[in-house]
């Protein structure tokens, strides 16, 4: 065991002092943060500018939608009813991307239609709806109340009606949470693949430069394999921690410095149309970013999820890692090994799909099967955990863990046999028949 730790420590040291590891540990999370920043800030700015024709025969809007110019949308007004065919082909309408039909019924049925040429992005939809809604609010307040719009917005309280399952009053099983579970599972599999390939390359390298026979004079092949997987796993884990900490701190930093929470109702109610119009880019970026941060910081039970995440990360890593190691040891040459990675890669992709499938159909029979299959359980259980197990079904989680532990022990043993038999074989072609023979020895 001590020798396995020595092997693991050497492997760990080699990985973490490797230039690419250091670069990836620092630049990787910074790159992710940069992408998040760009996604939420430039997302709105880089959007196509829209010309929207507001068809308002009843002159409800008074030829005005925004008092300040919005860089993304220019509204023009028309007072004659417009048929979609005319809009589609009429020369004078070609400059418009869409037309918004506002008729007198809007005051009662609160419905307006936008006819577009190209499908608008979700942000563009939100913008048009938001502008329309705010303008209508002004009109309604003016027509039916004695308040000024400023006063109205002070007393107006946005109301959110949440629909909750009586069996899950805390809404632990919302779709968003399911996606979080899928994300956790995907992280497990991305790390398994990245560091599984490292295991394979490291094994092939030791084999091809012949240091392996020197090592085997001191440790058994199984100890060597276990040490190698553990060492590389520790490096993977360290990198994961660095990523988590840097991204976590970075998200918080972005929230505090770049995306102040504009959705805060206290701040918002005093805003008039005048104020919000010109700032809408930043406004919508903040809105989207804060929803994202809220998801990351407030809706995920990190302690609970991370605990199980670690269990499945470690078990899944050892399960797949031993397979990668046995391929590296069995291959006659490095290129031979790459070829045998394909089936494993398919398994990993299939596992990712099984996670998505379980998110969409959590109670299906197939999802239950995936839950217990060691190839798929790390991701499927993470999805199920985030969706929440039904009352009385908690045993499924422990059964999955038990199945995965047993499978990992069996696979470590089988992979150990292939590793022991293959590690000193050179220049041969790997065939399944040969692997099968080594498995039985």
């Amino acid at each position: 065991m001590y020798n396995s730790w020595l092997i693991a420590f050497r492997e760990f040291k080699e990985r973490v002092t490797n230039r690419s590891f250091i670069i990836l540990s620092i630049l990787g999370p910074l790159l992710v943060l940069g992408l998040i920043y760009l996604l939420f800030t430039l997302g709105g700015k880089t959007q196509k500018h829209w010309n929207v024709l507001v068809i308002d025969p009843a002159h409800l809007m008074n030829n005005q939608m925004l008092s300040k110019e919005d860089k993304s949308i220019t509204y023009s007004f028309g007072d004659a009813y417009l048929e979609t065919k005319d809009f589609e082909k009429g020369k004078r309408f070609q400059k418009f991307d869409a037309f918004l039909e506002v008729n007198e019924k809007i005051l009662t049925n609160k419905t307006a239609f936008v006819f577009y040429r190209e499908k608008p992005s979700s942000t563009m939809k939100t913008r048009i709806q938001y502008h329309c809604e705010r303008r209508l609010e002004e009109l309604l307040v003016k027509k039916f109340t004695k308040f000024s719009i400023g006063e109205f917005r002070k007393i107006k309280q946005p109301l959110t009606v949440g629909f909750r399952n009586v069996y899950d009053p805390n809404d632990t099983s919302s779709d968003v949470r399911g996606w979080v579970g899928l994300f956790y599972g995907a992280v497990i599999f991305v790390f398994i693949f990245l560091f599984g390939m490292t295991i394979l390359r490291s094994t092939s390298k030791e084999k091809s430069n012949r240091i392996v026979e020197v090592l085997l004079g001191s440790v058994s092949p199984k100890q060597l394999m276990f040490g190698k997987i553990t060492g590389i796993g520790l490096a993977a884990f360290l990198q994961f921690i660095i990523w988590t900490v840097v991204i976590g701190v970075g998200l918080f930093f972005l929230r505090e410095n770049f995306f102040l929470d504009a959705l805060d109702t206290v701040k918002e109610t005093a805003n008039s149309l005048m104020e919000t119009g010109g700032e809408s880019n930043q406004f919508f970026a903040n809105k989207a970013y804060n929803q994202f941060v809220e998801l990351v910081y407030e809706r995920i039970n990190f302690t609970f999820m991370t605990g199980y995440f670690l269990v499945f990360f470690v078990l899944g890593y050892f399960f797949y890692g031993s397979l990668f190691a046995s391929i590296g040891a069995a291959a006659g040459s490095e290129s031979d090994g790459q070829q045998f990675v394909l089936p494993l890669l398919f398994l990993l992709i299939f596992a990712l799909y099984s996670g998505y499938y379980s998110l969409e159909n959590p109670e299906s029979t197939l999802a239950h099967v995936f839950e217990y299959l060691p190839f798929t359980s790390p991701i499927v259980v993470m999805v199920k955990l985030s969706l929440g197990y039904a009352t009385g079904k908690g045993y499924e989680l422990y059964l999955s863990i038990l199945t995965l532990i047993l499978s990992t022990v069996v696979v470590l043993n089988i992979a150990g046999r292939i590793y022991s038999n293959g590690i000193l074989q050179f220049g041969h072609r790997v065939r399944f028949k040969l692997l099968w023979r080594w498995m039985k020895k």
Binding site: E14, N209, V214, L216, G217, S218
Partner: protein, 309 residues
């Protein structure tokens, strides 16, 4: 020290070792000889517990060989490598600790060996900065660092220049003098003859012979002698009578020759001296024993011929 008893090992349908038994005494240098593919490396791997035999057993100092004995064994494989990006010191620490040494022990022993080979400035160098021969020296040091009682060297001289071969030979003799047991697998017959006490020859997975080098040579001598003399070659030939047959001749300068001859009938060394004294000026006369190389070739070829028949 090491009792190898009836070891057999097959890989799929190919037999690598067939009931091989060898006894290696403590404090001797034992040569393991054989052509490529004979099964030597398989036997060495079995002794190092890298692979398990199908049949037979090995005893180390009277106990059945187990993993715990590996700390007392040093192994330098034929196909050896090092981690290219690690320093000499890091390597020694890693491999020394794997063999059960503490960090401080490794450091002091490494200093001793680096000083002995006068390569102290290599300590912090990375392996990729060293030449092949330099790396071989580091490998040798890493193998002996933990002062093993049994040292197994598979082709230890390959990759070394003559100076370093001599250096390693001397070190092996010092280790032998210090009571270490050494198993040497090599095709370098000159070195085998010079430093091995006993040898075993493995061919086609079977042990063909085992014994002291002097005994093996004695058993296979062919009644041949060599005479180094000054004088006339004609006078030398005339002096000989039908009881002797010249089989080889070497001319050294104008009037100095070395002639190899074979005794016929019941003639002895004394008879040879009698006929030559007074005819030529003899500088040396010695019995020609077969070299290990010759014994090796003869035995392997005989076996091949027997297999063909």
């Amino acid at each position: 020290m090491l009792e190898i008893s009836n070891i057999s090992k097959s890989f799929h349908k190919k037999t690598a070792l067939d009931s091989v038994s060898i006894n290696i005494e403590a404090g001797e240098i034992f040569g393991l000889l054989g052509p490529n593919g004979a099964g030597k490396t398989t036997l060495i791997r079995i002794i190092n517990k890298i692979i398990e035999p199908d049949y037979g057993y090995i005893k180390f100092k009277g106990d059945v060989l187990s993993q715990k004995h590996l700390a007392e064994i040093g192994y330098l494989p034929e196909e050896r490598g090092l981690y290219k990006n690690m320093t000499v010191e890091a390597h020694a620490l890693f491999l020394g600790q794997l063999r059960g040494l503490s960090k401080s022990d490794v450091k002091s022993k490494l200093d001793y060996w680096l000083e002995k080979f006068q390569i102290q400035d290599w300590k912090k160098k990375r392996i990729e900065e060293l030449s092949k021969g330099m790396a071989q020296k580091v490998q040798f040091i890493c193998t002996v660092l933990h002062e093993p009682k049994l040292l197994i060297l598979d082709e230890p001289f390959s990759g070394f220049d003559p100076l370093n071969i001599q250096l390693i030979r001397q070190e092996l003799l010092v280790m032998k003098a210090n009571g270490k047991t050494i198993i040497l697998s090599s095709h370098n017959m000159e070195s085998v003859e010079e430093i091995c006490d006993r040898v075993a020859l493995i061919n086609s997975s079977k042990k063909i012979i085992e014994g002291k080098i002097s005994n093996l040579k004695e058993e296979r001598k062919n009644n041949e002698y060599a005479v180094k003399f000054r004088g006339s070659m004609i006078a030398f030939v005339n002096a000989l009578w039908t009881g002797f047959e010249i089989i080889d001749k070497e001319t050294l300068g104008d009037d100095t020759f070395i002639v190899k001859l074979k005794m016929r009938g019941d003639n002895h060394f004394d008879d040879l001296l009698k006929v030559l004294i007074g005819q030529v000026k003899m500088e040396a006369v010695w019995e020609v024993l077969p070299s290990m190389q010759q014994i090796f070739i003869d035995l392997v070829q005989t076996k091949q011929e027997a297999d063909v028949q």
